[in-house]
């Protein structure tokens, strides 16, 4: 099974609301990354959080990491229609390089104008 599992699988919100997506994983990690994928396109890197970090911000994005619970959350504040996309978490294990990164199956976010 996938190392990272996103929850929920799909999320629909009104423009201006906050969106929260969660990622759970099974084994120890070196870092965790979040990516966005617009429909039918490639992935775009959003944020990387290392295992010794608890929280990270980038613009309207806030990522938290709880290694004791093996979980991470991505919060998008004041959502916009342009945030409509699928969001993936990707976990990098303690050993091995990027080739060992495992992607989850994603949360599909729809922001309704």
């Amino acid at each position: 099974s996938q190392q990272g599992e996103e929850d929920p699988q799909a999320l629909s919100i009104q423009e201006g609301e906050n969106a929260t997506m969660n990622c759970s994983y099974k084994t120890s990690i070196n870092n965790l990354q979040w990516y966005r994928q617009n429909s039918g396109r490639g992935l775009v890197h959003l944020i990387l959080i290392r295992s010794n970090e608890r929280e990270k911000h980038s613009g309207r994005l806030r990522v938290t990491l709880d290694t004791s619970k093996k979980s991470s959350s991505l919060l998008i504040t004041a959502s916009r229609a342009a945030d409509t996309a699928s969001y993936f978490c990707a976990t990098a294990p303690n050993s091995g390089g990027y080739q060992k990164v495992t992607f989850g199956t994603g949360t599909k976010l729809q922001v309704i104008p």
Binding site: G40, G42, L43, G97, T102, F103, T105, G106
Partner: protein, 113 residues
Amino acid sequence: DVKVTQSSRYLVKRTGEKVFLECVQDMDHENMFWYRQDPGLGLRLIYFSYDVKMKEKGDIPEGYSVSREKKERFSLILESASTNQTSMYLCASSLRLTNTEAFFGQGTRLTVV
């Protein structure tokens, strides 16, 4: 900005054909990757390359081969296309192998009929 360019957005090929998917990156990255993305399965690594002429198998290499003759170009080859290789194929590159982000191409949606 890093740019990863895949040669085709959409391809339709016949069963048994030899198929070439091309990927070029312009940031002098050492590492390049080929993934396939299928609904409910997330991204799965087919092959990656950490240097010119160097390659390593990923999680699902069967039925595929790769070529990296120049640093900027990484080709995925389907030796004899089959219908179960119908998928979205994503190329990516990264500067390092650890604590790094990957830059993705726009994807190639391949249909084998």
